[in-house]
């Protein structure tokens, strides 16, 4: 059962990811991204990381992709049919595909890790309090830094998009 679920979600995610890359229409791509994220969230659930799954939905699907969709629609850019992709020669694309295949097969063949018994390892991702304790003890400093990161991101977006008036009088 769980195996089937994994493969279902994995294939779904991959298909959607491919959809992001090959879709000519940016809206379709964004929707594919959304679905891929839902798929990943499903995988997270299978990995017992419920919190992260829902956070992924909340942050990524709920805000980030929505923002994407917004902008795509706002800018209303239409990829004309022939120009969706960069001009790459057949050689380059074959090369890229070969690279992809080599990389993945290298991962599949050489990168094998023994799977530790998942039942032995405590399902650490389930308890919410674990996250909170980690974030506010061990990782307190990064949390603070992230706060500043968000601050400057916000400030930056304001600077970049706000209509500034009356700037003449400040020197």
């Amino acid at each position: 059962m769980a195996q089937i679920l994994f493969y279902a979600f994995a294939l779904f995610t991959l298909a959607c990811a491919v959809g992001v890359v090959v879709n000519k229409n940016a809206v379709n791509a964004a929707m594919c991204l959304l679905l891929a994220l839902v798929g990943v969230a499903g995988l997270f659930v299978q990995l017992d990381a419920y919190l992260l799954a829902f956070l992924l939905l909340l942050v990524y699907a709920g805000a980030v992709v929505a923002l994407f969709l917004f902008i795509v629609m706002l800018l209303d850019t239409k990829d004309t049919a022939s120009r969706g992709f960069r001009k790459v020669s057949t050689f380059a694309s074959v090369f890229a595909l070969g690279l992809l295949a080599t990389g993945v097969s290298a991962f599949a063949l050489r990168g094998r890790l023994t799977t530790p018994n998942p039942n032995l390892a405590a399902a650490v991702g389930t308890d919410l309090k674990h996250y909170a304790y980690q974030l506010f003890t061990t990782y307190l400093l990064p949390v603070q830094v992230i706060g500043f990161l968000l601050l400057i991101a916000m400030l930056g977006v304001i600077v970049l998009s706000k209509r500034w008036e009356g700037l003449d009088d400040i020197k």
Partner: protein, 504 residues
């Protein structure tokens, strides 16, 4: 989970250890607060406030250069405080001060909000300081991203200029790509190092010390190697090393000049600080992999940077590409640092020399530049020596130092790097670097030539194409003068700094 354990873990957050960073953060917040509180008339003084705060922080840092935490881990092993870390802290503070000085000149020509710029600079500086001391991948990533995102904004700060925005976008795409690679590399390393079936696996797999031990125990693991290469790729972007240098000319050209300086010096130095930690300590047991990669990278970087710079007419592109070649020289030092203890000191010295020289040049650039910040042509420097000899002299000294001409500081930096590279056995790389220096003379000298030798006859029929030069204010004059002087003096006399570097 036991409450006591939590309390212990929380008690390990020694905020005193990152006092300078805290100072910067508070200063940054204070700027925003002042902007709200103060009447508009007084907003002029907020940059001064930022500047004096920075100077104060730097003074405090130097005054207490050896705090009690030196040599220890703090924040549960997220940070490691070392002497190089202290030096880099001072370095970044110095960079921030200079960027602020340049920004005062440069921002005056633009209709853009001012305070936010200084705020961003302060935050990015603080993050850089943390980055140089991070001892844990989470800390590394978070600090790196703070720096990077800050730079996205800073690069596109002159948003009325298409060039600035385009530069920002390019930097963004490349930066995000490299962050992705870095991140995947970290994930792989974390996964491998924590795998309970491997020898010397560790529970805190993102901690550098633990990771280094694990890597030493598993010297040829495929996934670990992949992770290392990906992490190196992510860092290589920051320093603009060869395959990841493609953003450099465009971004340097488009970014506001103070930001270009910040990128060229601060960001690059941060990258090297991280690279040194990673390549020397963490990935030490994977030297069979890291060193060839870095060597190839260094060679390609030197060749590319110098050759590409030859044909440039826009000085910002020129200095960007020359910066790529400087990254190549520094990489040479990193390669050497695996075996030669002196190389680390050499890199720091080089960075300082580069800082001083670059900011001298950038300082002149901000004064020569017009309202269109991305359009700074070599031709605009015509007649500079006649019209403002001070700027011309500073420019000459800065460029000379960048080119590595004795008796300027840049030469000493190159010398140390070369010596250590030779000791490290990187002969061919060294020969390449020497060739690079000779090539670099050509374009640096071309710039000096433009400023000094060309007689400027204003065209009779059209308006003067050179933008009006900003008069040198007292503060910027003082700064530029002391930079030039420092460039000269550091070439003659290295004093305690030299002692410290060579004792490594």
């Amino acid at each position: 989970m036991n409450l006591e354990v939590v309390k212990l873990a929380a008690a390990d957050n020694q905020w005193g250890a990152i006092f300078p960073e805290l100072m910067l953060a508070c200063l940054a917040l204070a700027l925003l607060g002042l902007e709200i509180v103060l009447p508009k008339k007084l907003h002029v003084y907020i940059p001064d406030f930022a500047l004096s705060g920075l100077v104060g922080t730097l003074a405090g840092l130097l005054f207490n250069f050896r705090p009690a935490t030196l040599g220890h881990d703090t924040f549960n092993g997220l940070l490691h405080h070392s002497e190089p870390g202290q030096v880099m802290r001072a370095f970044f503070l110095l960079v921030a001060i200079l960027v602020c000085v340049l920004a005062r000149v440069s921002l005056a020509k633009q209709k853009m909000p001012r305070i936010e710029f200084y705020h961003l600079v302060l935050i990015v500086t603080g993050a850089m300081m943390l980055l140089a001391q991070s001892n844990h991948f989470v800390m590394l990533f978070v600090a790196l991203e703070t720096v990077t995102i800050g730079f996205y904004i800073l690069v596109s700060y002159f948003r009325t200029s298409t060039a600035s925005l385009e530069a920002g976008l390019k930097y963004l795409v490349m930066g995000a790509l490299s962050s992705g690679m870095l991140l995947f590399g970290i994930a792989l390393l974390y996964g491998v190092a924590g795998n309970p079936d491997l020898p010397a696996h560790t529970a805190s797999a993102m901690n550098f010390n633990a990771l280094a031990q694990f890597l030493a125990a598993n010297p040829h693991h495929f996934l670990a190697s992949t992770g290392i290469v990906l992490v190196l790729a992510g860092v290589a972007f920051k320093i603009g090393a060869f395959p990841f240098q493609i953003w450099v000319p465009d971004v340097y050209q488009g970014a506001p000049t103070p930001v270009t300086a910040f990128l060229a010096v601060g960001s690059k130095a941060a990258g090297f600080a991280v690279l040194l930690i990673l390549a020397r300590d963490v990935f030490a047991s994977y030297a069979w992999l890291v060193m060839p990669v870095l060597t190839a990278m260094a060679a390609a970087t030197i060749v590319f940077g110098n050759l590409a710079a030859l044909t440039q007419h826009n000085v910002k592109r020129l200095i960007g590409l020359s910066g790529v070649s400087h990254a190549g020289f520094l990489l040479l030092g990193v390669v050497a640092s695996a075996t030669v203890p002196m190389a680390q000191g050499a890199i720091y010295f080089y960075l300082f020399a580069y800082l001083i020289a670059s900011f001298a040049v950038f300082g002149v650039m901000t004064h020569v530049a017009g309202a269109n910040d991305s359009d700074q042509d070599l031709d605009h420097y015509a007649g500079l020596a006649k019209e403002s000899p001070f700027l011309a002299a500073v420019l000459a000294i800065g460029l000379g130092s960048l080119a590595g001409i004795p008796p300027l500081a840049g030469f000493m930096g190159k010398l140390f790097i070369f010596i250590s590279a030779f000791q490290g056995g990187a002969r061919w790389l060294l020969a390449l670097a020497a060739a690079g220096v000779v090539i670099s003379i050509y374009y640096y000298f071309g710039w000096i030539k433009a400023a000094f030798f060309e007689q400027w006859t204003p065209p009779a029929d059209t308006a003067d194409p050179r933008p009006a030069r900003t008069p040198v204010s007292f503060v910027s004059g003082l700064t530029l003068g002391s930079l030039a002087l420092a460039s000269v003096l550091l070439g003659f006399y290295q004093g305690p700094l030299g002692q410290w570097l060579t004792m490594k």
